[in-house]
Symmetry: C2
């Protein structure tokens, strides 16, 4: 597996997307898929906008990256997410063969932030599935956690 | 939680959809979401057709059901799947608050059928997440497993 060093600029893109989502009434999560030093797909959660319970930021970004690259396997990509991917997103990332996951806030942070979470950590999923995916946890955590406050301060916000 | 009895007619719809998928070059999986005795969304795997790694039958059915019912919570629904939902689909079903999962073939059957599976069972996901979802396993298993053979006999089939 190639070496990998998380880069702030890509998490900043994911954070900017999350913020864009907040401004549009969406849940405060963003994700960015990167390939060969370039952002391929940066998306925010679209559950409310699309009325689609599966439209987490990571899933939306995966769909876009597959379409853009015209393939379903993305072994040369990494995914940055402002929040630890939920088990749905973690598994989708596995299906796409992305070997690197970089995240900021943890599932526990999301729970404290007002979100009903499925409490199975990426570490646990990795162990259960005997996977080799590499996890960079808590990357720019403070900035990612602050998104919950921004979202919380917004009128008419909707958790789920 | 209300009582629940799996019905053959809905698994037959899921099987028919899987078969339709096979005929269109898709992976041999189908799912059917049922609400108050009526099928709401029956779909087959669309990974190749949509070039979308997340387009498993259950995910496609969830998206359609959400759109059709104009809501993201489906607590009065059940989902029938020809194959034990993978952890991505299991988690998506959890997010949609569907309390009943009925499946035919198991993850082990899919592996034998030629599919690269993420081997975390629904039972294990349920236990890890301390969830109350009810699972009906191996329902019409023989019919569901036979789909792998039909798919296997097809020229130009593509696993992933």
């Amino acid at each position: 597996m190639p070496s990998f060093k998380p880069e702030k600029k890509f998490m900043l893109l994911a954070i900017a997307k999350a913020r864009e989502g907040i401004s549009k009434g969406q849940a405060p999560f963003g994700a960015c898929i990167v390939r060969k030093g370039k952002a391929v797909a940066c998306e925010h959660n679209m559950v409310w906008k699309s009325m689609d319970i599966t439209a987490h930021a990571e899933i939306v970004a995966l769909r876009r990256a597959c379409k853009k690259l015209k393939k379903i396997d993305l072994p040369d990509c990494a995914i940055y997410s402002t929040l630890e991917p939920c088990p749905m997103c973690f598994s989708a990332i596995h299906w796409a063969r992305i070997p690197f996951i970089i995240y900021g806030a943890s599932i526990a942070d999301a729970k404290r932030g007002g979100f009903n979470e499925l409490e199975i950590s990426n570490e646990k999923m990795k162990k259960s599935g005997r996977l080799r995916v590499r996890l960079a946890k808590g990357f720019m955590k403070k900035d990612c956690v602050s998104l919950f406050k921004e979202w919380g301060a917004r009128k008419g916000k909707k958790a789920y």
